[in-house]
């Protein structure tokens, strides 16, 4: 099961990938921003985990771009961001984000969200 992890912070990418590895998902592709993620996305990606604020393309723009693609319409998108204002969360959902985690997150929260997304059908 392949994950695509997009974050402009190398520290955060490493933390998320380490967490995924520990949760039993060793196959991860890293992207430095939304545009890079869009380039690296393909039908083999089972879930996208993305930051919001990134140069070149934000996480919400990435979500919109993926939802506009035939092969990205159903992929679960998990937003992991420091933004926690209600309006931001709503905006992310409207952009096509499937679920949302506030930084700093605990491994437990990440696990719960991933489990829920892998079980549930995507509501996009």
């Amino acid at each position: 099961m392949k994950f695509l992890v997009a974050d402009d912070s190398a520290t955060m990418r490493r933390i998320v990938v380490n967490s995924l590895n520990r949760l039993g998902y060793p196959d991860c592709v890293e992207a430095v921003d939304g545009r890079d993620a869009l380039d690296k996305f393909d039908a083999s990606i089972r879930m996208v985990i993305t930051d919001w604020n990134m140069p070149n393309m934000s996480g919400t723009d990435l979500a919109r771009a993926l939802r506009a693609r035939a092969d990205g319409r159903q992929v679960p998108i998990l937003m992991v961001t420091a933004r926690s204002v209600r309006e931001d969360i709503m905006a992310a959902l409207e952009a096509g984000v499937s679920n949302y985690i506030v930084k700093p997150f605990t491994p437990q929260v990440l696990k719960e969200k991933i489990d829920a997304l892998l079980e549930a059908p995507v509501a996009s």
């Binding site: 140069p55 926690s84 700093p104 929260v109």
Partner: protein, 247 residues
């Protein structure tokens, strides 16, 4: 709207130009008067030429009050504009500097809290290692050692998670930097009023805030924080519940 925007800057610059032009005009008139004035008039030896020169001086002086009045009005207008700019700058700069100060305080706090979290985690890990060593070689404690090893892995993993503070403090610093850039831009706008030629060339030293703090390509979350993550995640869950009621 404040008075430091480009439109206000252009208006003030034009006023300054006009005033300068008017003052030059006054200067030229005065120069002309000085040239026309007789070098050392002899009371009893006024020539026809000197009389003609005096008549010309009189004629030139007639226009001078009007020119001086115009210059005075334009200078007054420019000064009012500058006062407005100064007030606007004072308020906005103060606000931005307070944002910078608040963000820097948050960085200090986040760094301290994260450091304590990491130290606590390492202390717990150390205790687990000590306990593992204590049960070493005891066949009856094999199961306990398995539990301790799992706990130790969990502690080490949790410590990795605390390192998220690096990303969060980076975002807080970027926010502070963007506030400083905004102050710099406003100062540059004000400075350009005093040197319109520089305004034509006119970029602030560090360029626009777009790279770091502008809305486009903004690389920080304005509300990035290391603390109260659970409370903020609760807000998310609340929004998710109301936005997407499960069927």
């Amino acid at each position: 709207m404040d008075g430091t925007g480009p439109a206000s800057g252009n208006r003030t610059a034009e006023l300054l130009y006009d005033s300068e032009a008017t003052l030059r005009l006054v200067g030229r008139e005065l120069e002309a008067l000085r040239d026309l004035a007789p070098a050392a008039p002899q009371e009893d030896a006024l020539t026809a030429a000197q009389l003609a020169a005096e008549a010309e001086v009189g004629s030139a002086l007639e226009g001078l009050p009007h020119l001086l009045q115009r210059a005075s009005l334009e200078i007054g207008s420019a000064l009012r504009s500058l006062r407005e700019c100064r007030q606007a700058l004072k308020h906005s700069a103060l606000d931005q500097l307070q944002v910078t100060h608040a963000k820097l305080r948050e960085v200090t706090s986040a760094t301290e809290v994260a450091t304590i979290d990491i130290m606590d985690g390492l202390d717990r890990a150390q205790q687990l290692v000590d306990e593992l060593e204590a049960t070493d070689g005891d066949p009856a404690a094999a199961e306990r050692r398995g539990v301790l090893r799992t706990e130790l892995r969990n502690e080490m993993f949790a410590v990795t998670g605390f390192l998220q503070f690096q990303d969060l403090t980076t975002q807080q610093l970027e926010h502070a930097a963007s506030a400083l850039l905004e102050v710099e831009e406003r100062l540059a706008q004000l400075a350009s009023l005093f040197d319109p030629r520089q305004a034509m060339l006119g970029e602030p030293a560090s360029g626009s805030v777009d790279g770091a703090g502008g809305a486009a390509g903004q690389t920080f979350a304005p509300d990035a924080a290391y603390g109260s993550a659970t409370a903020r995640q609760d807000v998310v869950e609340s929004v998710l519940r109301t936005a997407r009621p499960k069927g």
